[in-house]
Amino acid sequence: MGFDLLEPRTVAEAVELHARDGNAVFLAGGTALLILQRQGLPLPRRLISLRGIPGLDEITAGPGGGLRIGALATLRQVERHPLVVRRVPLLAEALRQVANVRVRHTATLGGNLAHGDYRLDPPAPLLVLGAQVRAVGIGGEREIALAAFFRGLFETALQPGEVVTELAIPPTPPSGGTYLKYALSSNDWPCVGAAALVALDDHGRCREVRLALTAVAAAPVLVRGLDELARGEPVSDRLAARLADIAAAQVEPVGDQRGSEWYKREMARVFARRALLAAARRAEAGPVGDGTKEPVA
């Protein structure tokens, strides 16, 4: 059926429009919404487009390091932005592996997070980067740690009518990071995605280890309890394998056509280990992050 497209010019106006019609839905890139419609879910009568709101797609340096990424920035904009490439190459690396270039040109980072699908790539690197979601609703503005943002299948911490306006990425310690996307074919969604960030001390021992996995539970998983085991240890094959076991115990895969529950758990372990090792190798080779020399792009 036909729909009305509302085009607010400010976030406040968008929130206001939603308050008047609780069934209205926000539209960003539309790549997820329109697919849902094609799959037979009727579109709501009212779509509130966020695309015309000035400034929502800006990417700027954060205070004291880090980054701020407007929710309406497309995946491609983020992937190519010099600040992203320099400060959080891990994110650029992950975004490069999302869908195809046409989708990335249209899909937005805010839309990706708000969509809440269990098999999206960007949440994994953003989780290890400790990103914060800024959202504005009728009650005002708030910040939600990404780790608390994903609640379940297509379920996020967003209240009805809340608009994601920005994603804040705090300064990262000097570290090596990687995102490994494991897919059955080159354009596919992940069977498993693993993002790792490893910070080493001057002796090459772990200062901090972060790991997040996607497509292996109803929501992306930020793996807990790694530092206890890892801190002060060199990142050996053995350590990586033990950390991977911890990770595999924290996933709760739902079998899909890309892998059964059994297989996904196995792959969570494999790619957790590989991601940790790869991140450690990068950390050894020359860490990036605030306070380190930024590599030449």
Binding site: M1, G2, I35, R38, Q39, N100, T178, L180, Y182, L184, S185, S186, N187, D188, W189, C191, G255, Q257, G259, S260, E261, W262, Y263, R265, E266, M267, V270, R274, L277, A278, R281, R282, A285
Partner: protein, 805 residues
């Protein structure tokens, strides 16, 4: 690689001339059916069944009919009341109603059609149609369909009369088997009793999507004089004309089917698909009507057969193949489409191109409550090759023989009899095998055994992998009997037109036909215009499929051009006072063979014959091949086809031991193309087939749940992308001129697709020592197979949680 005549610039044939449609296509100017807009055109939409099998109790189209913009709503109940209309169609059985009558048979079966001012209005209206169903128990796979007392998908069947080879087919009564092909040669049981080894395995190949870039689309309208004009994305314009004439009770002259460029077909666009319903709406509304499928609809329109093959082979102690017994079960879905021909043609090749004295084949075409399956590049042969070439490999390995040498020793040679009793002719299968083996350096350490794992690093992290190499061969017969007609018109300025019903669907037929005419008449390739199918002017052609166009249409065009040349030479011989046999045509001139200066330009020849400018000389020809039908009980025929085409593939793979993922590092595929008319195009066809097939081997699969397709969109169904192509992939042309082919050519459309899956499967076996029998070779399946082989070791490592059931 052979490079036939690519240096001889004067010739048009045997050279890789650029595509005549290339510039138009890469600049986006080429027009497809999608681009067709007729003034006053309405848009159509279909309402489809949500159930796999149900009786239609009642349809209420009242709300749809009054929806703004709607011109017509038609349901199956309306069809039966239309005088003079035969609502059923299908190339093998007339088993498909234009819109479901009484019953729906698959999730996606069209139930009602709407024509409206816009596509959106038509779709909205279709959703307003209320249908009351009485659900029937469904048969969702072949096993269920074959069970005694299984619900019948079709209670009655009516064979179609469109094609000679399908006129005799008979369904097994009161079962879901709509066709059973039998082949009996020698005494299989006795041979098995005498065999030193007996191998018995079951192989499966899943349903897969054609995924043409352009979905099915049809525009229909009625013009002056009651002419029904249908422009459609079809590979079979002549058949569609016949079918529409029969359905609507029109003379053939009153149905005009035109086909512009096709945005890919791969078999999906063979026979009638949207044409009957679109024409019906056009006749109903007296307005032009366009129906274009969404990608999601495309997925339930037609697909590649899911096949289960049980294959048993008796082998002598020295490796001779004594007997082979094959039972092939084809899941044809709810409507037969062309499946009986797939089942027949692939069925009789199911024992492979080997010397086997005793063969028994049963090939069953089975109705189920799934979307219909039909022709897909290779026409069922890749599915049976997967079985017989995997097993042949297993035999060689078990006997400790080199798989290439083993095949060489037992492949059919010129003059040997095929399982059908047909003597083999023009068959370069051994040459193909040798070519691919050489290309991947077969025998240099890796073949047949698991080499030590090389250390592979990715992002600085070592991965444990194993590598292996595998080969496979495949054979397919050209469709016979079949017919191609063509008209060639030479213009006074030395340009020419070709009227042919061959569809240019990306395969390069326009260029090929232009090359043949240019060669025959001595004119320039770019000056030859190939007129696209228009049944009002282009003669009958069986179909653009089955690797038949180069051979059949090529011959028709060549003969038609020869008739033009006769006229040209007759005129010139008068003027030059020389015997026409001594004349030659080249570079726009007719001249004396031994005295090239003595000649006339084509305009001069025309000037000698006609006292007007812009005149034409016309030649026509119909090229027809013959075959002897296979015997009903034994499948024997001395002449089952006019032409065999054979190919071979070789793969080197790397398997990740932790994930099970198979990566093809090197791939070579060779096709015996006869003589290549355009070597570059041949290589592109071979390459295209290979890439498509690699996707189908490694990850493509349509998933169904309760009869519902669950991955019917490009969001969840992936085809091979650029980055899935192996880093080294080599298409190889093998030449064995065919005595009846135009300039010795055979064809190449499907050859590259036949043996891909088996070569990769065999390479995986060489790497791991485990044989996979189910396609696609997903990493999970590979990993599971590895773990099953080493349960004890894996359990000790504490790594196996528990494999899925």
């Amino acid at each position: 690689m052979t490079r036939t005549g690519e240096g001889r610039d004067a010739r048009a044939v045997g050279r890789s001339v650029p595509r005549v449609d290339g510039a138009e296509k890469v600049t986006g100017r080429a027009a497809y059916v999608t681009d067709c807009v007729v003034p006053g055109m309405l848009h159509a939409a279909l309402l489809r069944s949500p159930l796999p099998h149900a009786r239609i109790r009642r349809i209420d189209a009242g709300r749809a009919a009054t929806h703004p913009g709607v011109s017509a709503v038609v349901t199956g109940a309306d069809l039966v009341q239309m005088p003079g209309l035969d609502p059923y169609f299908g190339p093998a059985f007339q088993d498909q109603a234009i819109l479901a009558i009484d019953k729906v048979r698959f999730v996606g079966d069209p139930v009602a059609a709407v024509a409206a001012a816009t596509r959106e209005a038509a779709r909205e209206a279709a959703q307003l149609i209320e249908v009351e169903y009485e659900e029937l128990s469904a048969v969702l796979d072949v096993q269920a369909a074959l069970r005694a007392g299984a619900p019948l998908v079709h209670e009655r069947l009516r064979p179609s009369q469109a094609f000679a080879d399908l006129m005799g087919i008979e369904a097994e009564r009161q079962t879901n088997v709509c066709y059973h092909f039998k082949l009996r040669r020698g005494d299989v049981e006795r041979a098995f009793a005498e065999a030193a080894h007996v191998f018995e395995d079951t192989y499966t190949s899943p349903a897969a999507q054609h995924a043409p870039l352009e979905p099915h689309v049809t525009v229909a309208w009625v013009t002056e004089g009651g002419l029904l004009h249908v422009t459609s994305s079809t590979q079979s314009p002549s058949y569609v004309r016949l079918s529409l004439a029969r359905i609507f009770g029109l003379p053939l002259s009153k149905v005009r089917v035109t086909v512009p460029y096709l945005g890919g077909g791969y078999g999906a666009k063979t026979y009638d698909k949207l044409e009957p319903v679109t024409a019906l709406l056009a006749l109903r509304t007296r307005r032009p009507v366009k129906l274009q499928l969404t990608r999601e609809e495309e997925f339930v329109t037609i697909h590649k057969h899911a096949v289960t093959t049980r294959i048993r082979t008796g082998v002598a102690a020295d490796g001779r193949l004594l007997a082979r017994e094959v039972a092939v079960y084809w899941d044809s879905g709810a409507y037969a489409d062309i499946a009986p021909r797939v089942v027949h043609k692939s069925g009789y090749t199911a024992a492979g191109p080997y010397a086997i004295p005793n063969v028994k084949i049963d090939s069953y075409c089975v109705y189920t409550n799934r979307p219909p399956a039909g022709a897909f590049r290779g026409f069922g042969v890749p599915q049976v090759v997967w079985a017989y070439e995997s097993q042949t490999d297993a035999i060689a390995t078990r006997l400790g023989l080199d798989p290439v040498a083993y095949r060489r020793a037992h492949l059919l040679r010129e003059g040997d009899l095929f399982a059908t009793g047909t003597p083999m002719r023009s068959l370069a299968v051994i040459e193909c095998l040798d070519a691919v083996a050489r290309e991947i350096e077969w025998g240099s350490g890796l073949a047949g055994s698991s080499p030590p794992a090389p250390e592979v690093r990715e992002a600085g992290v070592p991965r444990r992998v194993l590598r292996g190499k595998g080969v496979a061969v495949g054979i397919k017969a050209a469709l016979a009997p079949s017919i191609s007609g063509a008209t060639v018109m030479l213009n006074a300025d030395g340009s020419a037109s070709v009227l042919s019903s061959t569809v240019e669907m990306g395969q390069g037929s326009d260029t090929l036909l232009a090359q043949i005419v240019a060669e025959a008449l001595g004119v320039r390739v770019p000056d030859v215009q190939v007129v696209h199918p228009d049944t009002a002017v282009t003669p009958y052609d069986t179909i653009t499929a089955a690797t038949r166009s180069t051979f059949h249409m090529g011959n028709a065009v060549l003969q038609a051009a020869a008739r033009v040349r006769e006229q040209l030479f007759a005129i010139a011989s008068d003027r030059l006072e020389v015997d026409p046999d001594l004349l030659r045509a080249r570079d726009g001139r007719v001249f004396v063979a031994e005295a090239e200066d003595r000649g006339l330009t084509i305009p001069e020849v025309f000037g000698a014959a006609f006292q007007a400018a812009g005149t034409t000389l016309v030649g026509e020809a119909v090229y027809q091949t013959s075959a002897i039908p296979t015997d009903h009980e034994t499948g024997q025929s001395e002449r089952v086809t006019v032409m065999w085409f054979v190919g071979a593939s070789a793969a080197e793979v790397e398997v990740d031991l932790e994930t099970g993922q198979v990566r093809v590092l090197r791939f070579a595929t060779a096709a015996d193309v006869g003589r290549p008319i355009n070597p570059h195009h041949c290589r592109q066809q071979i390459l295209g087939s290979a890439v498509t097939s690699i996707g189908q081997t490694l990850f493509e699969c349509l998933h169904f749940e309760g009869g519902q397709l669950t991955n019917g969109s490009f969001l969840d169904y992936m085809i091979a992308g650029y980055r899935d192509v192996p880093p080294i992939i080599t298409p190889i042309i093998v030449e064995r001129a065919h005595p009846e082919g135009p300039y010795g050519a055979k064809g190449v459309g499907e050859t590259g697709a036949l043996s891909v899956a088996a070569a990769i499967g065999n390479a995986v076996h060489a790497a791991l020592g485990v044989r996979l029998r189910d396609l696609p070779l997903t990493p999970e399946r590979v990993l599971q197979a590895m773990r099953e082989r080493e349960p004890a070791r894996a359990a000790r490592r504490g790594q196996v949680e528990r494999g899925p059931g």
